[in-house]
């Protein structure tokens, strides 16, 4: 508990640096934003003050961290930690000022829990105030050194220019950014040297570029015809960049309508695509301290539902086309279609494996046929017909086999419905339509949900595998039955006896089970 008290005193002291919520102390800076993260391991808050300064206080994994440095330990079971957790959990509903007030209430609780807290706070404040004074002094020195630092920056930029083969005429450096960044400028320049080395390693060829330091926005109507290098800042692109975009220690945000004709490269940053187009590749390098989200347009971009509608329309069109072909088979070759369908029904495994093993033999058989025809003069003349005929035969076997499977499925379904007492009209055409609808229904989830990452392709793959199995079985059945001529693989018990087509001869039109016998009994 003693450790907790010291810890909380430090944290509370840190909080006292923040302005009061009601603006009582006008000379102190205002809190403009906050960010909170609450997990099972702890909770942290970052307050952003006017002018950009941030203070982060975290109680995580038993440690109290102030601006990333561990200052003490706490017990996860303590009341003060529980209160801290609860305070930050409600942050989503609060404005920054309200959250600050809530945190101050927590601070009061922390003070009550620890008698010596006041002294600790005072001590912490003294230390922090000293640190602030030191920071202010450094800032003043940095201001004084601005001239020399500017010169240093230009020297470094010249080095960058030489290294990247830039043309000096196109060098644009926003020196106005130096004032705000002067304290860390020297460090940044060192970092930039290292980062530029990484760009070299990436093999980027920069022939002609504009360089900008700090945040940059390319408006919608603007076009940059050269490469663009942005140092220590984020670049938002609404317009067009006809070259590469290279961001060093910053992010690239490509908006809808924005365009980059070549590559986007980030070093210690990332690229986010909220629309827009990239002509080349999107690459990144450097140490990423944060977990970067993949660009939404690259990995998570949803396909327009209109394309889903197109898929459904395509599916509908395919269904109609296959139905028409199926009607043709049913009308012109009903007996053959029945035998193939019965072969599939009674010998599905054999049919599938026959189709599976026959498929790779198609090409050799085709070659043998052509060679056989080529050795005779008459045969030579038949080669064009053989080529066309062979292709048509394979297509007919595959399509007819698939339709036979569909008919088998439909017939089975309708027969079972009839057996359950429903008033069902069973005709070969109806069986074919029902079966075809059943077989093709597996494509509907893939067509409708195809935009969902992972699941969409998985559904399409599942449907493709299922369809391939059905086509292969149908193709095999067509082979086993010699295109519906031989009923060798049809169960003798059923052949000519039990299928719906044989039960109701097809040349007599449609039939239905009498209502008296087909009424459902509930």
């Amino acid at each position: 508990m003693r450790a907790d008290r010291k810890t909380l005193a430090l944290a509370a002291g840190m909080l006292l640096l923040l302005p009061p919520p009601d603006g009582l102390n006008a000379q102190q800076r205002e809190v403009v934003a906050h960010a909170v993260s609450v997990s099972n391991n702890g909770a942290r808050v970052t307050f952003e003050l006017e002018g950009g300064r941030e203070i982060t206080i975290a109680l995580e994994n038993g440690s109290v961290l102030v601006d990333g440095s561990t200052v003490a330990r706490y017990s996860p079971n303590s009341e003060v930690y529980t209160a801290w957790h609860a305070t930050l959990e409600q942050a989503g509903r609060l404005s920054s000022t309200e959250l600050l007030a809530a945190v101050r209430e927590w601070q009061n609780l922390a003070s009550e829990q620890a008698p010596e807290v006041e002294a600790e706070i005072t001590r912490s404040l003294d230390q922090l105030a000293a640190a602030e004074e030191l920071g202010a002094e450094l800032a003043v020195r940095a201001e004084a050194m601005q001239g020399s630092l500017s010169a240093a920056l230009i020297d470094q930029a010249a080095e960058v220019t030489e290294r990247l083969q830039l043309e000096m005429d196109d060098l644009v450096i926003d020196l106005s950014q130096i004032n705000s960044n002067s304290r860390g400028l020297a460090i940044q320049l060192d970092e930039l040297r290292g980062q530029l080395n990484q760009v070299d390693k990436l093999g980027i060829q920069v022939d002609n570029a504009r360089i900008h330091m700090g945040d940059l926005t390319i408006p919608r109507e603007r076009t940059i015809d050269t490469d663009l290098v942005v140092l220590a800042g984020d670049v938002s692109i609404f317009g067009t960049v006809n070259g590469n975009v290279i961001a060093l220690d910053g992010d690239v945000l490509l908006h809808r309508g924005g365009s980059v004709q070549k590559d986007i490269v980030t070093v210690n940053g990332r690229t986010t695509r909220a629309g827009g187009s990239v002509g080349g590749r999107v690459r990144s390098s450097g140490l990423e301290l944060r977990r970067s989200a993949p660009p939404p347009s690259q990995n998570r971009r949803m396909v327009s539902p209109v394309s889903n509608g197109t898929s459904i329309a395509s599916l509908l069109g395919m269904f109609i086309a296959l139905s028409c072909i199926g009607f043709g088979f049913t009308f012109f070759a009903p007996r053959q279609l029945d035998i193939v369908a019965d072969t599939v029904t009674d010998s599905f495994g054999k049919s599938f494996f026959a189709g599976l093993f026959a498929t790779p033999l198609l090409l050799p058989a085709f070659v043998i046929l052509i060679v056989g025809l080529a050795i005779s003069v008459v045969g030579l003349l038949l080669i064009p017909f053989a080529i066309v005929g062979s292709i048509l035969a394979v297509i007919a076997a595959g399509t007819g086999g698939y339709l036979a499977v569909a008919k088998s499925v439909g017939s089975t379904y309708l027969t079972r419905r009839a057996a359950q007492g429903h008033a069902v009209t069973i005709t070969p055409y109806r069986s074919l339509l029902f079966g075809l609808a059943g077989l093709m229904a597996i494509w509907i989830p893939a067509a409708v949900l195809g935009w969902i990452p992972v699941m969409g392709p998985a559904l399409a793959l599942l449907a493709a595998i299922f369809t391939w199995v059905m086509v292969t079985a149908g193709f095999g059945a067509a082979i086993l039955s010699r295109a519906g001529i031989r009923a060798t693989f049809v169960n003798a018990r059923q052949a000519g006896a039990l299928t719906d087509e044989h039960y109701w001869p097809i040349d007599t039109g449609s039939h239905s089970i009498p209502r008296e016998t087909s009424r459902r009994v509930d």
Binding site: A33, T272, S292, P294, S304, P305, N308, G309, A313
Partner: protein, 283 residues
């Protein structure tokens, strides 16, 4: 260290600490005070969970709260230069186990005073948006297999250039489009149930153009009785309830079309399903 980096580090640390848990819900939240921003562009990408949005009652530019499954998702909550991005994100590897995700949600409120551009992508889940009273300039919503309700509970405060919705297999209800003040309304859906309610205070005088496309499903159109409506429809296997309309050439025109100060022209395409019309008196 910026706030977004702090958040990212926190999320990374929390992920390291909780990777072994089945479903570990964690929270990130952020708020920013309004400080004379000229515009706010909000981009939301939210694959699974519930989303809600409304106007902020206080002085915040935005307030956002994300409850996410840290085992499979990372929070995205970043603001820079008037651009706010939020939602959850995950790589494919962590989504292999597609078991139910419960409790994941995003709540957002934004300032009604700052000109606003919205770009939403929703996957599976529920979305409940009340855009009434906001300074909307542009809205784009892409929603997948979700249940979405978009409401304009009160008139918006700026002319809106475009309201665009694309939906996959979803149930979508848009209420009070008359309050949206948008001059162009586009709604496209692949399959599902779609309700478009055009009631509200029509501020946009002249003809508001709307394109509505629905592949498979039912469409309900609700119009206020004082709005002049013309519909040009292309349909394949879809029925159309032409109650309150007279057909003139290719168009269905409401009786009050010429007299109405505010007019709506709908270019409607429907493939399979029912298109029904309901007239709401006095609105």
């Amino acid at each position: 260290m910026t706030i977004k980096r702090a958040l990212g580090m926190a999320a990374f640390a929390s992920l390291l600490g909780n990777g072994a848990q089945a479903q570990s819900l964690e929270t990130v939240a952020a708020s920013r005070q309004e400080r004379g921003e000229r515009s706010l562009s909000v981009h939301v990408t939210f694959g699974m969970g519930d989303f809600s949005m409304t106007r902020d009652q206080g002085s915040a530019l935005y307030r956002a709260n994300i409850v996410y499954d840290s085992e499979r998702f990372d929070p995205v909550l970043e603001y820079a230069n008037g651009q706010l991005q939020l939602g959850v994100d995950s790589d494919g590897d962590r989504l292999r186990n597609l078991k139910a995700i419960r409790g994941q949600r995003v709540d957002l409120s934004v300032s009604p005073r700052v000109p606003l551009s919205l770009d939403f992508e929703f996957g599976a889940g529920k979305a409940d948006l009340d855009l009434g009273g906001l300074a909307l300039e542009r809205v784009e919503v892409r929603t997948g297999a979700s249940e979405a309700a978009i409401q304009f509970s009160r008139p918006t405060t700026r002319p809106c250039e475009r309201f665009e919705v694309e939906m996959g297999a979803a149930q979508l209800q848009v209420e009070g489009l008359g309050n949206s003040n948008c001059s162009q309304i586009d709604v496209r859906g692949a399959a599902g149930s779609l309700v478009l309610d055009f009631t509200g205070e029509w501020q946009h005088e002249g003809v508001t153009e709307a394109n509505v496309e629905l592949g498979l499903g039912d469409l309900m159109l609700r119009f206020p009785s004082n709005l002049g409506v013309s519909i040009e429809i292309e349909r394949f296997l879809a029925s159309f309830d032409a109650d309150g309309f007279t057909k003139q050439g290719d168009r269905y025109i409401s009786a009050n079309y010429e007299q109405s100060a505010s007019k709506l022209h709908i270019d409607l395409k429907a493939i399979v399903g029912d298109v029904e019309v309901e007239w709401i008196p006095g609105r």
